[in-house]
């Protein structure tokens, strides 16, 4: 890095071997005037560049001398040479527009951007072109190309070129450069690792009401996240002056409040705080009642002050005591949750590096006692800054350019447990990136944080960002269904039904049949009387079906029953059943053909009973006789013959006499019941008119009968 002053000689040498397009007539035939103009711009730009470069190189040399390491971050250069680089930028760009293929021109432009605006994507393109046109255009071209790749998170390519450049370095004189490149290679490895497993966070720029094209950083937020205070170096700074050291406006403190979730345009804080020099937010007490301010008064190296909120305004800041402030640079402050410990950053000589974190405690008199370096677990030989103590009382956030940073300041977390600080943990990508990430504070909820970062998508230089911590990846919730309980999955009728009872029934006979018209066989609805012949009682009356003529009746066995079938206009029909006991169940079919009331119609009166071998009518005949009486009363014009018949047992005379007596008994009975005798004819036929065989009991029973016949109507 000592050959910058040999630039003209190198230019000649390299141009012999490279593909670089020199500003020569032969390369631009027919463009004489344009070439002349471009060359003039190149000369002017080169002049400014060289001056700026000298400042840049001198600064670097001094930095290494002071810190014993090369600048870690591009911000470490504190924009050395920026005025000249800015003056160089326009003419060099004009020359570049005429001839973009000149390696040296590309290199110079790259360096200008590196100082003026390293976040500008043009820087990477320019260095890339410079390197591809002529890798030897300058000894350090590959180093800055690698760094540009690094700043653009192109980790692998950056490592490749860092390593290539490293291979060219050797010897004791290159020791700092070797250390520097090794660190940067490690930073790229860290970046590669962290960006492969990004943290689940949203990182949001707080927007144009907070951020500007100037540096905005150092956020302090109230616990409710409704008010923010921050430092900015924008052009409306109090006094309107710039710091000659870096040609930027002096710091002022700004504030903004949130209304309906939106930050309002930031305003400068009280005039009690902001002065014409540097006034920066250094920290806020947990209750928001005290603010710590960084001020850079003459020859004090930058000190810390405390101001108290009184009503709506901040009081004039009071300088913290000498246990905190020294002739060196002190900045950020954070109080422990109980206000008894004060953490701050100082680059005092006794530290481990260029900015260390210290802590002091309140003594018995309420003053801050001697400060104590937090030690090598936290502090490195590189810079630490932006200390913030979480209200949990044990977690500290801070920024460091050491540890396993990805480049520049990264934010780390360490926990104080069992009397010691834990190994700092990098908050990971995308909170941290290859550039400076610093001044991290956590909101009261702990779910959001605020920090300053020089990310490429910002409004310019450093901006303030909000981090929303999303926590571990949220696993979706499936809708599943189990049917764990059987009766619910597959309901069953679980009630216990009592069984049927055995009904203690009599043995039965089913009597059934069809009632028809005797002449045309059409089914008839007829009234059916059921008579208990023993008790001479009508047990029930029911009807045959009007369509089918069917009837059915179930009768207990072991009894004698009479049945009378009646229908108006028809002669009634009677049957007698003597149902024997025995079988549990028997069926008896009896079809009945009713005869119409007309001359010649005959009917057997099956329920007229006589004493054995006598003509005495038995009482159980009463129902049948009542029916006969009713028939005669209902049809007062009819005349009937009442005849009695016997079977063939006994002599003909006897049978004739018996039948004659029985028919007369019936006629006499009817006369006693009011039937006119002229309507009645008694006739005994003996065994002369059998209707069945006399060879069987059943046949003989059928033959023993009383009939009537209609003689006149």
């Amino acid at each position: 890095m000592k050959k910058y002053y040999l630039f003209p000689l190198l230019l000649i040498t390299i141009s012999l071997f490279s593909q670089s397009v020199e500003f020569e007539k032969s390369n631009f035939p027919g463009k004489k005037d344009e070439l002349k103009l471009a060359k003039k711009q190149l000369d002017v730009g080169t002049e400014f560049y060289m001056q700026g470069r000298k400042e840049f190189d001198d600064f670097r040399k001094d930095f290494i001398s002071q810190n014993k390491y090369a600048p870690v971050s591009n911000h470490d250069f504190r924009q050395a040479g920026i005025t000249n680089f800015k003056d160089a930028l326009t003419p060099l760009t004009t020359a570049y527009n005429f001839n973009p293929k000149n390696a040296r021109l590309n290199y110079m432009l790259g360096i200008c951007y590196f100082i003026i605006d390293p976040g500008n994507k043009t820087m990477l393109k320019i260095f890339s072109e410079a390197f591809s046109i002529d890798p030897k255009v300058e000894d350090d071209v590959e180093f800055y190309y690698a760094w540009a790749l690094h700043l653009n998170s192109q980790w692998d390519d950056a490592i490749t070129h860092y390593k290539a450049h490293l291979s060219k370095l050797q010897g004791k004189k290159a020791a700092f450069d070797i250390d520097d490149i090794n660190k940067k290679i490690q930073e790229c490895e860290n970046g590669k690792k962290f960006s492969a497993t990004p943290e689940r966070v949203f990182v949001d720029n707080l927007g144009p009401n907070i951020n500007s094209s100037y540096p905005d950083y150092g956020p302090a937020i109230t616990a409710d996240e409704e008010t923010i205070m921050f430092t900015s170096r924008r052009d409306n700074t109090t006094g309107g002056k710039k710091d000659e050291g870096d040609n930027k406006y002096f710091e002022d403190i700004y504030t903004s409040t949130k209304i309906n979730g939106k930050w309002q345009p930031a305003k400068q804080i009280s005039k009690n705080i902001n002065t014409e020099t540097h006034d920066a937010v250094a920290g806020l007490s947990p209750d928001g009642g005290k603010m710590y301010v960084y001020r850079d008064m003459a020859k004090d190296g930058g000190d810390l002050y405390e101001t108290t909120l009184f009503g709506a305004d901040w009081e004039v800041p009071v300088k913290l005591n000498k246990n905190i402030n020294t002739k060196y640079h002190e900045n950020t402050v954070s109080l422990s949750y109980d206000g008894r410990q004060l953490y701050f950053v100082s680059n005092k000589e006794s530290g481990l590096g260029n900015g260390d974190i210290y802590m002091c405690e309140l003594d018995v008199k309420g003053n801050w006692g001697p400060s104590k370096n937090l030690g090598a677990v936290i502090n490195t030989k590189y810079a630490e800054d932006g200390v913030y103590m979480h209200p949990d009382g044990k977690t500290m956030y801070f920024s460091s350019k050491g540890h396993n940073s990805m480049g520049g300041y990264d934010i780390f977390k360490s926990i104080f447990e069992n009397g010691k600080w834990s190994e700092p943990v990098n908050l990971g990508y995308p909170i941290n990136g290859p550039d400076d990430d610093v001044y991290f504070v956590v909101a009261g909820s702990g779910n959001r944080g605020y920090f300053a970062s020089a990310k490429k998508d910002g409004y310019g230089d450093q901006d303030i960002y909000k981090i929303t911590f999303l926590g571990p990846e949220k696993q979706p919730l499936l809708s599943t269904q189990d049917q764990l309980l059987a009766v619910i999955a597959n309901p069953i009728s679980n009630l216990k039904v009592e069984n049927a009872v055995e009904v203690k029934m009599a043995k039965v006979t089913i009597l059934k049949g069809i009632i028809t018209d005797a002449k045309n066989n059409q089914p008839l609805e007829a009234s059916i009387e059921l008579i208990d012949n023993e008790k001479n009682q009508t047990l029930a009356t029911f009807k045959s079906n009007s369509n089918t003529g069917k009837y059915l009746v179930t009768l207990p066995s072991g009894k004698n029953y009479g049945i009378a079938v009646k229908r108006d206009g028809y002669l009634f029909h009677s049957e007698n059943f003597n149902l024997p006991e025995g079988a549990d169940f028997q069926e008896y079919n009896k079809d009945v053909a009713l005869k119409k009331i007309e001359i010649g119609s005959t009917i057997i009166l099956k329920n007229i009973f006589f004493d054995f071998d006598k003509a005495t009518i038995r009482p159980e005949s009463a129902n049948e006789l009542e029916r006969l009486i009713k028939l005669l009363n209902d049809n007062p014009t009819i005349k009937i013959e009442l005849s009695s018949h016997t079977d063939s047992k006994g002599s003909d005379e006897y049978n004739l006499k018996l039948s004659d007596s029985r028919s007369k008994s019936v006629v006499d009975y009817l006369i006693t019941k009011g039937i006119n005798a002229t309507r009645l004819v008694a006739k005994g036929y003996g065994e002369t008119k059998p209707i069945d065989t006399n060879d069987t009991d059943e046949g003989r029973q059928n033959n023993r009968r009383t009939e009537f016949k209609i003689l006149a109507k």
Partner: protein, 349 residues
Amino acid sequence: MKHLYLFFMLSFGYLKSQDTVKVASNIPPEQQAELDYNSGLSALSKENFNAAIELFSKAIVSKPLFDKAFSNRAIAYAQLKNFNLAINDINEAIKINNQNADIYFNKAMVYYKMSKRDSENVALMHCLKLNAAHADAAYYAGLFCYEDKDYDKSIEFYSKAIASNPNYAYAYNDRASAKRAKNDFIGAIADYEKALSINSKLPFIYNNLGSVYRLNKNYTKAIEAYTKAIQENPSYVVAYNNRGAAHFENDNLKAAESDFLEVLKKDPSNSGAYNNLASIAIKSKDYTKARDMANKAINIDGKNGAAYYNRGIARQMLREEGGSCEDWKKALELGVSGAKQFINASCLN
């Protein structure tokens, strides 16, 4: 043959309904009660509950101390969800005969349907006191304890039911579920498999078996069990859905999606399947699709807490933070306790 009274029966097998013959009856009350009771029983078996009630009532009029008629009329009332009348009848039956374990069991069942848990338990215990080997009473006592989350006691009762009836597949199933609740997955698997060995035609038991395998992260076995459930009942969408869940948990999102789509083919208004498609989309980081699927699930079933939960995740990642908080709050309201941590982390200032 104690009484020889005349009676009449209508033979419906012989006469058509229009052939009904009205006859006077002089059957003695006790026999009439028994006849009506038996007819009531026939009506009950045909689920003609109103007719059954009428017939049992007639039986009770004829024979006021007819405990079986009270008991069966109670069943008919219970089937008609007239639980208070059912309990009245059961109490009448108990007054007549307090040694019938089944009546106490019925009482417990009616209380079960009335969700009167304490009364149910008292009746069950009474039943078991009268008949310690009453398998159904032991089963329901197990169910009672299960619903009370007293899984140890539940297992004890189910075991008694099984001891009384070794082929009690339902008791094995439920005991398995109680073991599952105690994270005894091995015991649960053994019981589900025993239940299936008794009755291999019950798809819900295969489904339960699959779910235990899923909990045990044995996805191959889980998928196998769900597949059997589907084979037993090809329209059993629950098993399709759960098989999809097993594929999902086994990181086979394609197979999972196929099963969830099959559920929707068979049941287009299945909110759970839409929610599961939302889950797949979340896994695939397609948050727009996840939100759309969760929207569909919610439109079908506004009480699908999981869908609100998932839509909350999708909306957070789509930077609709306000909407995501509303969704998680709704999910929590609907019983998705996991939403609380998200609300605490992201929705409270």
